[in-house]
């Protein structure tokens, strides 16, 4: 037996074919939308996000130049902007929100679904890892940061000319990959793959 996480309606299991979508009959919450090779796709997208994030850390992010003076910043330097005085904890928070938590989320997903994607049985802690990835999700703010970057660029526009570094493009691609991943992880389809023996 299952219960809708939004409205608590008891739901009996039934077979749902690929491409079909099952919604809660009481509140309309999307429960299942199986897609072929979902685990493999999630793992591939997770690896993409992890690699792009790794690259983004080591390349310049943005640069400004005006009147012969120029300055460059990295993702790391952006988080460190708050390192003065009592703002310091905010540096740690920004680092968590834009780098560490997005990475933690994709690592948890790779751990949870990697063996499944390779056609093997999942690890013993796979279900906990998948649940953890879901809890981290609201706090992984790479896409919010990307929009923040666009706002900042417009704000500086009048003051100096802004150049986009490789880390900016890596970040933009990473956000696209993470969004594609979101749409594959937001219902219960993966739970069935992780726990095929669950009592009906």
């Amino acid at each position: 037996m299952l219960a809708c996480p939004e409205c608590d309606l008891l739901l009996a299991r039934r077979e749902i074919g690929p491409g079909e979508r099952a919604r809660c009959s009481r509140c309309g919450h999307l429960l299942f939308s199986p897609r072929p090779e979902a685990a493999a796709k999630i793992v591939a997208l997770s690896l993409t996000v992890a690699i792009l994030m790794g690259g983004a850390m080591f390349f310049p992010f943005l640069s400004v130049a005006t009147g012969g003076v120029s300055h460059e910043s990295s993702i790391f330097g952006t988080a460190l902007a708050y390192s003065e005085g009592f703002l310091a904890p905010l540096s740690v928070a920004v680092m968590l929100l834009i780098v560490l938590l997005p990475v933690a989320r994709v690592l948890a997903l790779i751990f949870a679904l990697g063996p499944l994607a390779a056609g093997r049985a999942p690890f013993a802690q796979a279900r906990r890892a998948f649940r953890l990835a879901g809890r981290i999700r609201p706090w992984a703010m790479a896409e919010v940061f990307l929009i923040g970057t666009v706002v900042a660029i417009v704000k500086i526009g009048g003051l100096a000319s802004v150049g986009l570094g490789p880390a900016f493009w890596a970040f933009a691609l990473l956000v696209v990959a993470a969004a594609a991943m979101d749409s594959l992880t937001n219902d219960w389809t993966i739970w069935d793959a992780l726990d095929p023996t669950s009592p009906l």
């Binding site: 996480p5 939004e6 608590d8 008891l10 902007a81 919010v144 500086i156």
Partner: protein, 218 residues
């Protein structure tokens, strides 16, 4: 909508003496502490969740005050001299520079969304169990919206970080973050926690379809 028929009580996990897991959907007997399948903590008494909602929400509202009183940005340029901007001041400046689009984004993310969330969460919590004129579906959708949109308020914190790390051009122009950034970030985080602690099943259990419900699950 008309999907649910309000006159027939729905068979919920709670009415059946069970607790559903918010993480994976698996049901467990009432009284079990954690989901056997995914380890999520199971709370049979949803009123406790409501206390958490009020605690996080009040913390978020309180911190939103200093977030607006203290400066968010500390700018000094060769041409305009030193100036300090609060959240609202920064929006006025963008509007004066005719950057309407960006002014609108910052205004929505930093003012409309936080205030709207405070009001929405408080209203949803206060109208639980009451036969409010707003349907269960609409209230549920409002909660989902509040939950989805909350993180976007963090934009201004990132903008300030990017500006301060980038605009370090010696005498020409320098930007530093102000104390408001910390208060604002905490206010957004606490309000997100308030929305996350709000169990949507509270909306459904107490109104409409379940109004004539019998025994409470122990």
């Amino acid at each position: 909508m008309g999907r649910a028929r309000p006159d027939i009580p729905a068979l919920t996990a709670r009415r059946a003496g069970l607790v559903g897991c918010r993480g994976c959907g698996q049901v467990a007997p009432a009284g079990q502490h954690a989901c056997a399948r995914c380890g999520t903590r199971l709370e049979a008494d949803r009123r406790i969740c409501l206390q958490r909602v009020w605690a996080w929400l009040s913390a978020g509202v309180i911190l939103y005050v200093p977030a607006n009183l203290y400066p968010m940005l500390d700018t000094s340029t060769l041409t305009t001299g030193a100036s300090q901007n609060t959240i609202l001041g920064g929006i006025f400046e963008l509007a004066r520079a005719q950057d309407w689009g960006v002014a609108a984004i910052v205004f929505v993310a930093s003012v409309v969304v936080p205030l709207g969330k405070f009001i929405a969460i408080a209203q949803l919590a206060l109208t639980l169990g009451r036969r409010a004129p707003v349907s269960l579906h609409r209230r549920h959708r409002l909660l989902r919206l509040v939950d989805f949109i909350g993180r976007w308020s963090m934009i201004d914190v990132f903008v300030v970080a990017i500006l301060s790390s980038l605009v370090q051009l010696g005498k020409l122009a320098q930007i530093h973050p102000g104390p408001a950034a910390v208060f604002f970030a905490l206010s957004v985080a606490f309000t997100m926690l308030a929305a996350q602690s709000f169990d949507p099943r509270l909306i459904w259990d107490r109104g409409g379809a379940d109004a004539g419900r019998g025994a409470e699950a122990a």
